[in-house]
Symmetry: C2
Subunit: 243 residues, 2 copies
DNA sequence: TTTTATATCTTGTTTAAACATGTTATGTCT
DNA sequence: AGACATAACATGTTTAAACAAGATATAAAA
Protein backbone atom coordinates (compact mmCIF):
# COMPACT_ATOMS: atom_id res chain seq x y z
CA UNK A 1 0.00 0.00 0.00
CA UNK A 2 1.81 3.09 -1.26
CA UNK A 3 1.44 6.00 1.11
CA UNK A 4 2.19 8.68 -1.43
CA UNK A 5 0.89 9.59 -4.84
CA UNK A 6 4.27 9.72 -6.57
CA UNK A 7 5.07 6.25 -5.28
CA UNK A 8 1.90 4.72 -6.69
CA UNK A 9 2.56 6.42 -10.01
CA UNK A 10 6.14 5.16 -9.92
CA UNK A 11 4.96 1.61 -9.33
CA UNK A 12 2.31 1.82 -12.01
CA UNK A 13 4.70 3.07 -14.67
CA UNK A 14 7.33 0.56 -13.55
CA UNK A 15 4.84 -2.25 -13.98
CA UNK A 16 3.84 -0.96 -17.41
CA UNK A 17 7.49 -0.95 -18.44
CA UNK A 18 8.16 -4.46 -17.13
CA UNK A 19 5.06 -5.80 -18.83
CA UNK A 20 5.96 -4.14 -22.12
CA UNK A 21 2.85 -1.93 -22.07
CA UNK A 22 5.36 0.82 -22.69
CA UNK A 23 7.62 -0.84 -25.29
CA UNK A 24 11.41 -0.97 -25.15
CA UNK A 25 13.19 1.92 -26.84
CA UNK A 26 9.94 3.85 -27.27
CA UNK A 27 9.10 7.14 -25.59
CA UNK A 28 6.83 7.16 -22.57
CA UNK A 29 3.77 9.42 -22.65
CA UNK A 30 4.82 13.03 -22.12
CA UNK A 31 4.61 14.71 -18.74
CA UNK A 32 1.49 16.58 -19.75
CA UNK A 33 -0.11 13.33 -20.82
CA UNK A 34 0.80 11.62 -17.53
CA UNK A 35 -0.52 14.59 -15.55
CA UNK A 36 -3.90 14.06 -17.15
CA UNK A 37 -3.78 10.27 -16.74
CA UNK A 38 -3.00 10.38 -13.06
CA UNK A 39 -4.75 13.67 -12.39
CA UNK A 40 -1.89 15.15 -10.43
CA UNK A 41 0.67 17.93 -10.64
CA UNK A 42 3.72 17.98 -12.84
CA UNK A 43 6.11 17.73 -9.90
CA UNK A 44 4.50 14.52 -8.76
CA UNK A 45 4.88 12.93 -12.19
CA UNK A 46 8.47 14.12 -12.42
CA UNK A 47 9.25 12.66 -9.04
CA UNK A 48 8.01 9.25 -10.11
CA UNK A 49 10.05 9.43 -13.30
CA UNK A 50 13.21 10.47 -11.47
CA UNK A 51 13.02 7.23 -9.51
CA UNK A 52 12.70 5.25 -12.72
CA UNK A 53 15.81 7.04 -13.98
CA UNK A 54 17.68 6.02 -10.85
CA UNK A 55 16.53 2.45 -11.41
CA UNK A 56 17.89 2.52 -14.94
CA UNK A 57 14.42 1.88 -16.34
CA UNK A 58 14.15 5.05 -18.39
CA UNK A 59 16.28 7.86 -19.75
CA UNK A 60 15.12 11.43 -20.00
CA UNK A 61 16.05 13.59 -22.98
CA UNK A 62 15.42 17.28 -22.79
CA UNK A 63 13.22 18.45 -25.61
CA UNK A 64 12.51 14.90 -26.74
CA UNK A 65 10.91 12.81 -24.08
CA UNK A 66 11.51 9.85 -21.78
CA UNK A 67 12.77 6.63 -23.32
CA UNK A 68 12.20 3.15 -21.98
CA UNK A 69 15.58 1.39 -21.77
CA UNK A 70 14.57 -1.39 -19.39
CA UNK A 71 15.91 -4.85 -20.03
CA UNK A 72 14.81 -7.82 -17.93
CA UNK A 73 17.62 -9.09 -15.75
CA UNK A 74 18.99 -12.52 -15.17
CA UNK A 75 17.14 -14.74 -12.77
CA UNK A 76 19.96 -15.42 -10.36
CA UNK A 77 21.00 -11.80 -10.23
CA UNK A 78 21.25 -9.80 -7.07
CA UNK A 79 20.38 -6.18 -7.40
CA UNK A 80 22.67 -3.43 -6.31
CA UNK A 81 21.56 0.03 -5.39
CA UNK A 82 18.88 -1.30 -3.13
CA UNK A 83 18.94 -3.23 0.07
CA UNK A 84 17.33 -6.61 -0.17
CA UNK A 85 17.49 -9.55 2.17
CA UNK A 86 18.46 -12.98 0.90
CA UNK A 87 14.90 -14.17 1.40
CA UNK A 88 13.41 -11.24 -0.51
CA UNK A 89 15.86 -11.69 -3.35
CA UNK A 90 15.05 -15.38 -3.62
CA UNK A 91 11.31 -14.80 -3.57
CA UNK A 92 11.60 -12.14 -6.22
CA UNK A 93 13.26 -14.71 -8.43
CA UNK A 94 10.78 -17.43 -7.55
CA UNK A 95 13.45 -19.62 -5.97
CA UNK A 96 13.46 -21.56 -2.75
CA UNK A 97 15.68 -20.12 -0.01
CA UNK A 98 16.93 -21.94 3.06
CA UNK A 99 19.20 -20.68 5.80
CA UNK A 100 21.37 -22.70 8.14
CA UNK A 101 22.76 -21.06 11.26
CA UNK A 102 26.32 -22.27 11.76
CA UNK A 103 27.12 -20.09 14.75
CA UNK A 104 25.15 -17.83 17.03
CA UNK A 105 27.15 -16.10 19.74
CA UNK A 106 27.71 -12.84 21.56
CA UNK A 107 31.11 -11.22 21.76
CA UNK A 108 32.85 -7.99 22.60
CA UNK A 109 34.79 -6.19 19.91
CA UNK A 110 38.53 -6.07 20.50
CA UNK A 111 40.79 -3.62 18.71
CA UNK A 112 41.22 -5.79 15.64
CA UNK A 113 37.54 -6.54 15.21
CA UNK A 114 36.67 -2.94 15.91
CA UNK A 115 38.89 -1.81 13.06
CA UNK A 116 37.40 -4.35 10.69
CA UNK A 117 33.75 -3.83 11.52
CA UNK A 118 33.74 -0.12 12.24
CA UNK A 119 32.09 -0.62 15.63
CA UNK A 120 33.63 1.15 18.64
CA UNK A 121 35.96 -0.98 20.77
CA UNK A 122 34.36 -3.10 23.53
CA UNK A 123 30.96 -2.99 21.81
CA UNK A 124 28.59 -5.84 22.63
CA UNK A 125 27.82 -7.52 19.34
CA UNK A 126 25.89 -10.51 18.09
CA UNK A 127 28.09 -12.60 15.82
CA UNK A 128 26.20 -14.94 13.52
CA UNK A 129 27.50 -17.28 10.85
CA UNK A 130 24.91 -18.36 8.34
CA UNK A 131 24.87 -20.53 5.28
CA UNK A 132 22.35 -19.59 2.60
CA UNK A 133 20.97 -22.15 0.18
CA UNK A 134 19.09 -21.41 -2.99
CA UNK A 135 17.18 -24.37 -4.34
CA UNK A 136 19.31 -26.50 -2.00
CA UNK A 137 22.60 -25.26 -3.45
CA UNK A 138 24.85 -23.58 -0.82
CA UNK A 139 25.62 -20.14 -2.25
CA UNK A 140 26.65 -17.69 0.43
CA UNK A 141 28.33 -17.72 3.82
CA UNK A 142 27.37 -14.67 5.82
CA UNK A 143 29.28 -13.33 8.79
CA UNK A 144 26.88 -10.94 10.52
CA UNK A 145 27.83 -8.62 13.33
CA UNK A 146 24.89 -6.80 14.91
CA UNK A 147 25.17 -4.14 17.59
CA UNK A 148 23.46 -5.94 20.46
CA UNK A 149 21.62 -2.90 21.82
CA UNK A 150 19.96 -2.44 18.42
CA UNK A 151 18.69 -6.02 18.07
CA UNK A 152 17.12 -7.02 21.40
CA UNK A 153 15.48 -10.42 21.46
CA UNK A 154 17.34 -11.74 18.43
CA UNK A 155 17.42 -15.53 18.55
CA UNK A 156 18.84 -18.39 16.56
CA UNK A 157 15.33 -19.19 15.32
CA UNK A 158 14.90 -15.70 13.90
CA UNK A 159 18.32 -15.94 12.25
CA UNK A 160 17.16 -19.11 10.50
CA UNK A 161 14.28 -17.23 8.95
CA UNK A 162 14.91 -13.57 8.17
CA UNK A 163 16.64 -11.13 10.49
CA UNK A 164 15.57 -8.14 8.42
CA UNK A 165 11.95 -9.17 8.61
CA UNK A 166 12.31 -9.33 12.41
CA UNK A 167 14.01 -5.96 12.62
CA UNK A 168 11.44 -4.23 10.45
CA UNK A 169 8.22 -5.94 11.45
CA UNK A 170 8.86 -6.76 15.12
CA UNK A 171 11.30 -4.08 16.26
CA UNK A 172 9.94 -1.56 13.78
CA UNK A 173 13.45 -0.57 12.86
CA UNK A 174 13.88 1.12 9.52
CA UNK A 175 16.91 0.19 7.51
CA UNK A 176 17.91 3.08 5.37
CA UNK A 177 21.38 2.97 4.06
CA UNK A 178 24.10 0.46 3.34
CA UNK A 179 27.64 1.01 2.12
CA UNK A 180 28.97 -2.01 0.31
CA UNK A 181 32.43 -2.93 -0.82
CA UNK A 182 33.09 -5.73 -3.24
CA UNK A 183 36.39 -7.54 -3.42
CA UNK A 184 37.81 -10.87 -4.50
CA UNK A 185 39.47 -12.99 -1.82
CA UNK A 186 41.08 -16.38 -1.48
CA UNK A 187 38.78 -19.09 -0.24
CA UNK A 188 39.25 -20.43 3.27
CA UNK A 189 38.79 -23.95 4.58
CA UNK A 190 35.40 -22.95 5.93
CA UNK A 191 34.30 -21.71 2.50
CA UNK A 192 35.61 -24.87 0.88
CA UNK A 193 33.76 -27.06 3.34
CA UNK A 194 30.36 -25.39 3.44
CA UNK A 195 30.08 -24.10 -0.11
CA UNK A 196 31.30 -27.45 -1.47
CA UNK A 197 34.08 -25.80 -3.38
CA UNK A 198 37.24 -27.29 -4.73
CA UNK A 199 40.35 -25.14 -4.44
CA UNK A 200 41.70 -26.68 -7.64
CA UNK A 201 38.59 -25.48 -9.38
CA UNK A 202 38.07 -22.05 -7.87
CA UNK A 203 40.60 -20.77 -5.34
CA UNK A 204 38.97 -17.38 -4.76
CA UNK A 205 35.51 -15.92 -4.33
CA UNK A 206 33.49 -12.73 -4.30
CA UNK A 207 33.29 -10.97 -0.96
CA UNK A 208 30.80 -8.22 -0.19
CA UNK A 209 31.37 -6.22 2.98
CA UNK A 210 28.51 -4.02 4.05
CA UNK A 211 28.03 -1.37 6.67
CA UNK A 212 24.35 -0.77 7.37
CA UNK A 213 22.68 2.16 9.08
CA UNK A 214 19.26 2.40 10.66
CA UNK A 215 16.95 5.40 10.61
CA UNK A 216 18.66 6.88 13.66
CA UNK A 217 21.91 7.14 11.75
CA UNK A 218 23.48 4.38 13.81
CA UNK A 219 25.60 1.78 12.05
CA UNK A 220 24.08 -1.30 13.62
CA UNK A 221 25.32 -4.02 11.29
CA UNK A 222 28.52 -5.12 9.67
CA UNK A 223 28.31 -8.10 7.38
CA UNK A 224 30.77 -9.98 5.28
CA UNK A 225 29.11 -12.05 2.57
CA UNK A 226 31.25 -14.67 0.90
CA UNK A 227 29.76 -15.73 -2.41
CA UNK A 228 30.32 -18.90 -4.36
CA UNK A 229 32.13 -17.57 -7.43
CA UNK A 230 30.30 -19.56 -10.10
CA UNK A 231 26.94 -18.24 -8.92
CA UNK A 232 27.95 -14.71 -8.00
CA UNK A 233 26.07 -12.17 -10.08
CA UNK A 234 25.55 -8.56 -9.11
CA UNK A 235 23.83 -5.90 -11.14
CA UNK A 236 24.20 -2.16 -10.88
CA UNK A 237 22.95 0.85 -12.71
CA UNK A 238 25.23 3.84 -13.00
CA UNK A 239 24.30 7.36 -13.97
CA UNK A 240 26.79 9.83 -15.36
CA UNK A 241 26.70 13.00 -13.32
CA UNK A 242 27.82 16.38 -14.59
CA UNK A 243 31.15 17.81 -13.46
CA UNK B 1 31.19 25.52 -13.51
CA UNK B 2 27.84 24.35 -12.20
CA UNK B 3 24.99 25.50 -14.40
CA UNK B 4 22.30 25.19 -11.77
CA UNK B 5 21.83 26.49 -8.26
CA UNK B 6 21.04 23.15 -6.66
CA UNK B 7 24.17 21.69 -8.16
CA UNK B 8 26.44 24.35 -6.70
CA UNK B 9 24.77 23.93 -3.31
CA UNK B 10 25.20 20.17 -3.62
CA UNK B 11 28.89 20.57 -4.33
CA UNK B 12 29.39 23.08 -1.53
CA UNK B 13 27.76 20.88 1.09
CA UNK B 14 29.56 17.82 -0.26
CA UNK B 15 32.87 19.59 0.11
CA UNK B 16 32.00 20.69 3.65
CA UNK B 17 31.21 17.09 4.53
CA UNK B 18 34.41 15.74 3.01
CA UNK B 19 36.51 18.39 4.76
CA UNK B 20 34.81 17.69 8.10
CA UNK B 21 33.35 21.21 8.27
CA UNK B 22 30.13 19.33 8.94
CA UNK B 23 31.36 16.66 11.37
CA UNK B 24 30.65 12.95 11.07
CA UNK B 25 27.49 11.74 12.81
CA UNK B 26 26.35 15.31 13.48
CA UNK B 27 23.28 16.95 12.02
CA UNK B 28 23.63 19.32 9.10
CA UNK B 29 22.11 22.79 9.42
CA UNK B 30 18.35 22.61 9.03
CA UNK B 31 16.62 23.33 5.74
CA UNK B 32 15.52 26.74 6.96
CA UNK B 33 19.09 27.53 7.92
CA UNK B 34 20.40 26.42 4.51
CA UNK B 35 17.72 28.45 2.75
CA UNK B 36 19.07 31.57 4.43
CA UNK B 37 22.72 30.63 3.83
CA UNK B 38 22.26 30.06 0.13
CA UNK B 39 19.42 32.52 -0.31
CA UNK B 40 17.27 30.14 -2.30
CA UNK B 41 14.02 28.25 -2.04
CA UNK B 42 13.35 25.19 0.05
CA UNK B 43 12.97 22.93 -2.98
CA UNK B 44 16.40 23.85 -4.22
CA UNK B 45 18.00 23.00 -0.91
CA UNK B 46 16.07 19.73 -0.73
CA UNK B 47 17.17 18.81 -4.22
CA UNK B 48 20.81 19.22 -3.27
CA UNK B 49 20.31 17.13 -0.15
CA UNK B 50 18.52 14.37 -2.04
CA UNK B 51 21.65 13.92 -4.16
CA UNK B 52 23.77 13.64 -1.05
CA UNK B 53 21.39 10.96 0.19
CA UNK B 54 21.83 9.05 -3.07
CA UNK B 55 25.60 9.37 -2.65
CA UNK B 56 25.39 7.88 0.82
CA UNK B 57 26.83 11.06 2.32
CA UNK B 58 23.88 11.92 4.54
CA UNK B 59 20.74 10.40 5.94
CA UNK B 60 17.52 12.30 6.43
CA UNK B 61 15.34 11.71 9.49
CA UNK B 62 11.86 13.15 9.51
CA UNK B 63 11.34 15.42 12.45
CA UNK B 64 15.00 15.27 13.44
CA UNK B 65 17.28 16.49 10.73
CA UNK B 66 19.92 15.38 8.27
CA UNK B 67 22.85 13.37 9.59
CA UNK B 68 26.31 13.23 8.09
CA UNK B 69 27.27 9.55 7.67
CA UNK B 70 30.10 10.05 5.16
CA UNK B 71 33.22 7.94 5.59
CA UNK B 72 36.27 8.52 3.40
CA UNK B 73 36.81 5.61 1.05
CA UNK B 74 39.83 3.56 0.24
CA UNK B 75 42.31 5.01 -2.20
CA UNK B 76 42.22 2.24 -4.76
CA UNK B 77 38.45 2.04 -4.71
CA UNK B 78 36.32 2.40 -7.77
CA UNK B 79 32.99 4.00 -7.22
CA UNK B 80 29.77 2.37 -8.26
CA UNK B 81 26.59 4.22 -8.99
CA UNK B 82 28.37 6.68 -11.21
CA UNK B 83 30.15 6.37 -14.49
CA UNK B 84 33.81 7.20 -14.35
CA UNK B 85 36.54 6.53 -16.83
CA UNK B 86 39.73 4.80 -15.76
CA UNK B 87 41.64 8.05 -16.15
CA UNK B 88 39.17 10.03 -14.05
CA UNK B 89 39.18 7.41 -11.35
CA UNK B 90 42.97 7.41 -11.22
CA UNK B 91 43.18 11.19 -11.11
CA UNK B 92 40.63 11.33 -8.33
CA UNK B 93 42.88 9.07 -6.31
CA UNK B 94 46.04 10.96 -7.21
CA UNK B 95 47.54 8.01 -9.03
CA UNK B 96 49.31 7.73 -12.32
CA UNK B 97 47.34 6.00 -15.09
CA UNK B 98 48.73 4.53 -18.28
CA UNK B 99 46.93 2.72 -21.04
CA UNK B 100 48.34 0.27 -23.56
CA UNK B 101 46.33 -0.59 -26.64
CA UNK B 102 46.72 -4.30 -27.35
CA UNK B 103 44.31 -4.48 -30.24
CA UNK B 104 42.45 -1.97 -32.37
CA UNK B 105 40.23 -3.41 -35.05
CA UNK B 106 36.88 -3.17 -36.74
CA UNK B 107 34.55 -6.15 -37.01
CA UNK B 108 30.98 -7.12 -37.76
CA UNK B 109 28.93 -8.76 -35.06
CA UNK B 110 28.00 -12.36 -35.79
CA UNK B 111 25.20 -14.14 -34.00
CA UNK B 112 27.34 -15.18 -31.04
CA UNK B 113 28.87 -11.75 -30.49
CA UNK B 114 25.50 -10.12 -30.99
CA UNK B 115 24.05 -12.17 -28.18
CA UNK B 116 26.93 -11.36 -25.86
CA UNK B 117 27.15 -7.64 -26.55
CA UNK B 118 23.52 -6.84 -27.08
CA UNK B 119 24.22 -5.15 -30.44
CA UNK B 120 22.05 -6.15 -33.40
CA UNK B 121 23.56 -8.77 -35.69
CA UNK B 122 25.84 -7.51 -38.49
CA UNK B 123 26.54 -4.25 -36.67
CA UNK B 124 29.79 -2.51 -37.52
CA UNK B 125 31.72 -2.27 -34.28
CA UNK B 126 35.10 -1.09 -33.11
CA UNK B 127 36.75 -3.79 -31.02
CA UNK B 128 39.52 -2.56 -28.75
CA UNK B 129 41.63 -4.44 -26.25
CA UNK B 130 43.33 -2.26 -23.71
CA UNK B 131 45.58 -2.82 -20.74
CA UNK B 132 45.29 -0.29 -17.93
CA UNK B 133 48.18 0.41 -15.57
CA UNK B 134 47.98 2.25 -12.29
CA UNK B 135 51.33 3.42 -11.00
CA UNK B 136 52.87 1.01 -13.53
CA UNK B 137 51.00 -2.01 -12.15
CA UNK B 138 48.79 -3.72 -14.77
CA UNK B 139 45.33 -3.84 -13.23
CA UNK B 140 42.63 -4.20 -15.83
CA UNK B 141 42.15 -5.68 -19.27
CA UNK B 142 39.30 -4.01 -21.10
CA UNK B 143 37.48 -5.44 -24.08
CA UNK B 144 35.59 -2.52 -25.60
CA UNK B 145 33.01 -2.82 -28.34
CA UNK B 146 31.80 0.52 -29.72
CA UNK B 147 29.03 0.94 -32.26
CA UNK B 148 31.05 2.37 -35.15
CA UNK B 149 28.45 4.88 -36.31
CA UNK B 150 28.47 6.43 -32.83
CA UNK B 151 32.24 6.90 -32.59
CA UNK B 152 33.43 8.40 -35.89
CA UNK B 153 37.11 9.28 -36.02
CA UNK B 154 38.10 7.03 -33.16
CA UNK B 155 41.78 6.16 -33.46
CA UNK B 156 44.34 4.06 -31.66
CA UNK B 157 45.92 7.24 -30.30
CA UNK B 158 42.66 8.35 -28.72
CA UNK B 159 42.23 4.89 -27.23
CA UNK B 160 45.61 5.26 -25.56
CA UNK B 161 44.45 8.39 -23.82
CA UNK B 162 40.78 8.51 -22.90
CA UNK B 163 37.95 7.46 -25.16
CA UNK B 164 35.34 9.01 -22.91
CA UNK B 165 37.11 12.35 -23.01
CA UNK B 166 37.04 12.17 -26.81
CA UNK B 167 33.38 11.23 -26.93
CA UNK B 168 32.32 13.98 -24.58
CA UNK B 169 34.63 16.81 -25.54
CA UNK B 170 35.15 16.20 -29.26
CA UNK B 171 31.99 14.45 -30.37
CA UNK B 172 29.89 16.18 -27.72
CA UNK B 173 28.24 12.92 -26.91
CA UNK B 174 26.61 12.69 -23.52
CA UNK B 175 26.96 9.44 -21.69
CA UNK B 176 24.02 8.97 -19.44
CA UNK B 177 23.43 5.50 -18.29
CA UNK B 178 25.32 2.28 -17.80
CA UNK B 179 24.10 -1.12 -16.72
CA UNK B 180 26.82 -3.16 -15.11
CA UNK B 181 27.01 -6.79 -14.13
CA UNK B 182 29.70 -8.14 -11.88
CA UNK B 183 30.76 -11.75 -11.91
CA UNK B 184 33.76 -13.88 -11.04
CA UNK B 185 35.37 -15.83 -13.86
CA UNK B 186 38.32 -18.12 -14.41
CA UNK B 187 41.42 -16.39 -15.69
CA UNK B 188 42.50 -16.95 -19.26
CA UNK B 189 45.99 -17.19 -20.71
CA UNK B 190 45.69 -13.60 -21.90
CA UNK B 191 44.84 -12.42 -18.38
CA UNK B 192 47.70 -14.43 -16.95
CA UNK B 193 50.14 -12.98 -19.43
CA UNK B 194 49.24 -9.30 -19.33
CA UNK B 195 48.18 -8.92 -15.72
CA UNK B 196 51.22 -10.87 -14.58
CA UNK B 197 49.08 -13.32 -12.69
CA UNK B 198 49.93 -16.79 -11.51
CA UNK B 199 47.17 -19.38 -11.84
CA UNK B 200 48.48 -21.16 -8.76
CA UNK B 201 48.04 -17.94 -6.85
CA UNK B 202 44.75 -16.66 -8.19
CA UNK B 203 42.86 -18.74 -10.72
CA UNK B 204 39.89 -16.41 -11.08
CA UNK B 205 39.19 -12.71 -11.34
CA UNK B 206 36.49 -10.06 -11.15
CA UNK B 207 34.68 -9.33 -14.40
CA UNK B 208 32.50 -6.27 -14.95
CA UNK B 209 30.30 -6.26 -18.04
CA UNK B 210 28.72 -2.95 -18.89
CA UNK B 211 26.13 -1.78 -21.37
CA UNK B 212 26.32 1.97 -21.88
CA UNK B 213 23.73 4.29 -23.39
CA UNK B 214 24.18 7.77 -24.80
CA UNK B 215 21.75 10.65 -24.52
CA UNK B 216 19.84 9.45 -27.58
CA UNK B 217 18.96 6.24 -25.79
CA UNK B 218 21.24 4.21 -28.04
CA UNK B 219 23.39 1.51 -26.50
CA UNK B 220 26.67 2.41 -28.14
CA UNK B 221 29.14 0.50 -25.99
CA UNK B 222 29.59 -2.93 -24.54
CA UNK B 223 32.61 -3.46 -22.40
CA UNK B 224 34.02 -6.36 -20.49
CA UNK B 225 36.50 -5.31 -17.81
CA UNK B 226 38.67 -8.04 -16.35
CA UNK B 227 40.13 -6.95 -13.05
CA UNK B 228 43.18 -8.25 -11.27
CA UNK B 229 41.63 -9.88 -8.19
CA UNK B 230 44.06 -8.64 -5.56
CA UNK B 231 43.42 -5.02 -6.55
CA UNK B 232 39.74 -5.22 -7.34
CA UNK B 233 37.75 -2.94 -5.07
CA UNK B 234 34.29 -1.63 -5.86
CA UNK B 235 32.16 0.51 -3.65
CA UNK B 236 28.41 0.96 -3.74
CA UNK B 237 25.80 2.73 -1.71
CA UNK B 238 22.40 1.12 -1.37
CA UNK B 239 19.21 2.74 -0.18
CA UNK B 240 16.33 0.76 1.23
CA UNK B 241 13.19 1.63 -0.63
CA UNK B 242 9.67 1.24 0.72
CA UNK B 243 7.46 -1.64 -0.47
C1' DT C 1 13.43 23.92 -53.71
C1' DT C 2 15.99 25.43 -49.94
C1' DT C 3 16.49 28.28 -46.14
C1' DT C 4 14.84 30.64 -42.32
C1' DA C 5 11.98 32.12 -38.84
C1' DT C 6 8.34 30.78 -35.77
C1' DA C 7 5.20 28.37 -33.12
C1' DT C 8 4.81 24.46 -30.34
C1' DC C 9 6.06 20.54 -28.44
C1' DT C 10 9.30 18.37 -25.01
C1' DT C 11 12.04 18.23 -20.40
C1' DG C 12 14.87 21.24 -16.84
C1' DT C 13 15.10 24.72 -13.04
C1' DT C 14 13.27 27.63 -9.49
C1' DT C 15 10.07 29.84 -6.48
C1' DA C 16 6.10 30.08 -3.22
C1' DA C 17 2.76 28.25 -0.45
C1' DA C 18 0.07 24.97 2.02
C1' DC C 19 -0.60 20.96 4.62
C1' DA C 20 1.07 16.43 6.72
C1' DT C 21 3.79 14.08 10.00
C1' DG C 22 7.47 12.98 13.14
C1' DT C 23 10.52 14.91 17.22
C1' DT C 24 11.63 17.66 20.96
C1' DA C 25 11.49 21.09 24.31
C1' DT C 26 8.42 23.84 27.25
C1' DG C 27 5.16 24.77 30.43
C1' DT C 28 1.20 23.38 33.19
C1' DC C 29 -1.30 20.48 36.09
C1' DT C 30 -1.46 16.74 39.39
C1' DA D 1 8.97 15.00 40.63
C1' DG D 2 6.25 12.93 37.14
C1' DA D 3 2.52 13.00 33.58
C1' DC D 4 0.52 15.29 29.92
C1' DA D 5 -0.92 18.64 26.66
C1' DT D 6 1.12 22.00 23.60
C1' DA D 7 3.94 24.91 20.93
C1' DA D 8 7.94 25.04 18.08
C1' DC D 9 10.72 22.95 14.79
C1' DA D 10 12.30 19.24 11.79
C1' DT D 11 11.56 16.81 7.27
C1' DG D 12 7.87 14.80 3.74
C1' DT D 13 4.28 15.51 0.13
C1' DT D 14 1.69 18.11 -3.17
C1' DT D 15 0.12 21.87 -5.96
C1' DA D 16 0.61 25.93 -9.02
C1' DA D 17 3.03 28.92 -11.75
C1' DA D 18 6.70 30.92 -14.28
C1' DC D 19 10.67 30.86 -17.05
C1' DA D 20 14.69 28.34 -19.47
C1' DA D 21 16.28 25.53 -23.06
C1' DG D 22 16.42 21.66 -26.40
C1' DA D 23 13.87 19.37 -30.44
C1' DT D 24 10.65 19.45 -34.14
C1' DA D 25 7.14 20.48 -37.29
C1' DT D 26 4.99 24.28 -39.82
C1' DA D 27 4.68 28.28 -42.43
C1' DA D 28 6.84 32.14 -44.62
C1' DA D 29 10.61 34.04 -47.31
C1' DA D 30 14.55 33.56 -50.36
Amino acid sequence: MPKSIYESIYKDIKQKIESDTFPYQELLPSENNLIQRYNCSRNTVRRAISRLVADGYVQTMQGKGVRNIYRPIDQTSFTLGEIESFKESAQRNGQHPRTEVLLFTEIKTDEKLSRRTGFPEDSEVCYIQRLHYLDEVPLIINHNYFLKECVPGLTREIAENSIYQYLEQELHMTIVNSRRIMTVEKITEIDEKYLELNAEDYNCMAVVSSYTYNSNGIMFEYTQSRHRPDYFHFQDNAVRKPG
